[in-house]
Symmetry: C2
Subunit: 252 residues, 2 copies
DNA sequence: TCGAAAAGATGACAATTATCATGAATTATT
DNA sequence: AATAATTCATGATAATTGTCATCTTTTCGA
C-alpha cells in the first residue's frame, strides 16, 4: 500500500512535467516548491494573482539577493539552490543566521513588519528564485485567515529555531557547534555518491555559521579529520563517523 | 502642550480606576496593558469572550509559570512584574532568552504552532498575569485577519530581536554583552530614586542572560565597578557612566 | 595554461573565559 | 537573634579561542 502511494506520487509529478509546457510549469499553481511553504494555504485565485505578478530570477553563486538595510518590496521563494542569510556584526564579521533552501521564503519578516530588512541574502550555490511583490502577499494576508495562520506557524517555527541557536551559541563550545553544523548539513542537504556533503561551504562560511574565527574553524576541521570523524577533499567535507560527532555535541 | 497631554493621560487612567469597581477594572476591555500587545486588534465582542474565560493569577518571585516541555493550553499576558524565559542547555546551564514584562504575551509561539513549549517561564519579581485559554485566541485568529496580522507583526519583531541576540552572542565578548545588558535594563525598566536599576537580577541570572559562567559575570561586574562604570549595593546595580559602557559595547 | 588572487593550513603567542577552591557577605529560617 | 543556606567575591590555574604571520594549495581569469 505504501509503495503504491509512492509510485502514485512520482507518477503525478512526472505527468505534470510531461504535459505542461515551460510557461505552464513555472506558474505558482503548479510549483512543487509550494508544498513546503505557506503559499499552500492560498486559494487558486490568490495563487493566480501571485503567479501573474512574480518574476523568476537566476542567481549565481556569490551574488546577493538583498543586503542588510534594503527595503524589500516583496519576498523571495527559493526554487533551487541555497542562500545564506547573514548579519554584519559591529566588529566587521558576518554572522550567518540561517541557510534557506528549496521551498523557503526569504524576506517575509521584513515585509510583514514593514521594516528594512535586518539580514543580507547571498547565494552559496547557483539559485533559482521567484520574487513575489509584497502587494499580493499583504493583500492575501488580510483577506485569507488560513494563509495568515500558515505564515504565523512558519514564523513561530523559525522563532523556536532561533531560540535553539541562541542556546547553542552561548552554551556550546566552538568544537561542538562545528560538529553540529556538519550533522545538520548532512541531514538537511545530503551527501553525494562519494559521501561528501552536497552543500559545500567555504571554511569562512562555516566559521560564520558557528560564530568563530576562520582559523579556528580550519584548525578544528583538521582535528576532526585526524580523529577520523570527517574526510576532506579540497573544500568538500564528508562525515565519516556521525556517532563520534554526536557524542562530541552532547558533551562526552 | 506635551505636558497637557501627559496630564490628560494620567487623568484618564485615574478616572477609569475611580469609577470602576474591581471586577470591572479586571476586564480585558478595560485593561491598560492591552495597549502594548496584539490583543488591541480584537473587537469588543472578541475581547469580552477572552475576558470571560481568562483567569488572573498572582505569581511570587521565583515561582514558575510553566516549564520547558509543558503543553500550554493558553497564553499568559503580563499585567505586572517580570518573567525570565529560559531554556536548559545540554550542559546543565540555563540560558535566558528573553525577559517579559508588562503588556507582553508569553506562550503564544507554542499555542500557535501547537507544539510543546521550548522555554520555561519563571518570575524574577512578583507578578500578576492573566491566563487566557487558547480557544478564544485561536478562534479569533481564524476569524479576524487584523488580529492575525497584529500577532504576526509581533512575532516578526521577536524574530528580528532573536537575530540580534544571535549576533551578539557569537560576535561580542562577555564584557560587551554584560555592558549591553546593563544598558538594556536601564532603558527598559528604569532606575529607582537612588539610581539603581529597578529590575534586580541575581548575578547568576545576569550570567544566564549573557551566556557565561556566574564567576565570570561577577568578575566583570567588579571590574566595571572599579572603573566607575557602575555602582553596586548588595545585589543592586546602578549605571554610573553609560557612555563608558556604550563605548565598550561598540568596541573601543 | 600560466600566473595572480583567493582560500586553506599551521605555528606561535596572546587574550579571553571556564573551572575549582575558598572565604566573605547577605538572606532566609527557626 | 542565632544559625543555616544562599549568594557574592576573588585567587589560582587550565582550557578555549582569537590574532598575526607565513606558507601551501586551489581556483579563476586573462
Amino acid at each position: 500500500m505504501s509503495s503504491f502511494r509512492y509510485f502514485y506520487t512520482i507518477f503525478r509529478v512526472e505527468q505534470i512535467d510531461y504535459f505542461m509546457d515551460e510557461a505552464e510549469q513555472n506558474r505558482c499553481e503548479n510549483c512543487i516548491v509550494r508544498q513546503f511553504n505557506s503559499l499552500r494555504a492560498m486559494s487558486k485565485a490568490e495563487l493566480k494573482k501571485v503567479s501573474d505578478s512574480k518574476v523568476t530570477k537566476k542567481i549565481k553563486k556569490g551574488e546577493a539577493l538583498f543586503e542588510e538595510g534594503d527595503k524589500l518590496d516583496g519576498v523571495f521563494c527559493v526554487r533551487e539552490g541555497v542562500s545564506k542569510l547573514s548579519k554584519l556584526s559591529s566588529n566587521g564579521k558576518d554572522q550567518i543566521i540561517k541557510l534557506a533552501s528549496k521551498g523557503e521564503v526569504m524576506g517575509q519578516r521584513s515585509v510583514i513588519a514593514e521594516e528594512y530588512t535586518n539580514l543580507s541574502a547571498v547565494a552559496v550555490s547557483d539559485m533559482e528564485v521567484c520574487f513575489i511583490p509584497k502587494d499580493s502577499i499583504v493583500h492575501t494576508l488580510s483577506k485569507n485567515p488560513d494563509f495568515a495562520i500558515e505564515v504565523l506557524r512558519h514564523m513561530a517555527h523559525d522563532l523556536k529555531e532561533a531560540d535553539d541557536v541562541i542556546v547553542n551559541m552561548s552554551q556550546k563550545t566552538v568544537k561542538q557547534r562545528i560538529a553540529e553544523a556538519f550533522v545538520y548539513l548532512k541531514n538537511n542537504y545530503g551527501e553525494d555518491d562519494q559521501g561528501f556533503l552536497k552543500l559545500t561551504l567555504s571554511r569562512e562560511d562555516i566559521a560564520n555559521v558557528v560564530g568563530t574565527a576562520t582559523e579556528s574553524a580550519i584548525r578544528i576541521i583538521s582535528e576532526f579529520k585526524k580523529k577520523g570523524m570527517i574526510k576532506t577533499s579540497g573544500k568538500k567535507i564528508g562525515v565519516l563517523n556521525e556517532k563520534l560527532l554526536q557524542d562530541l555535541i552532547e558533551g562526552f
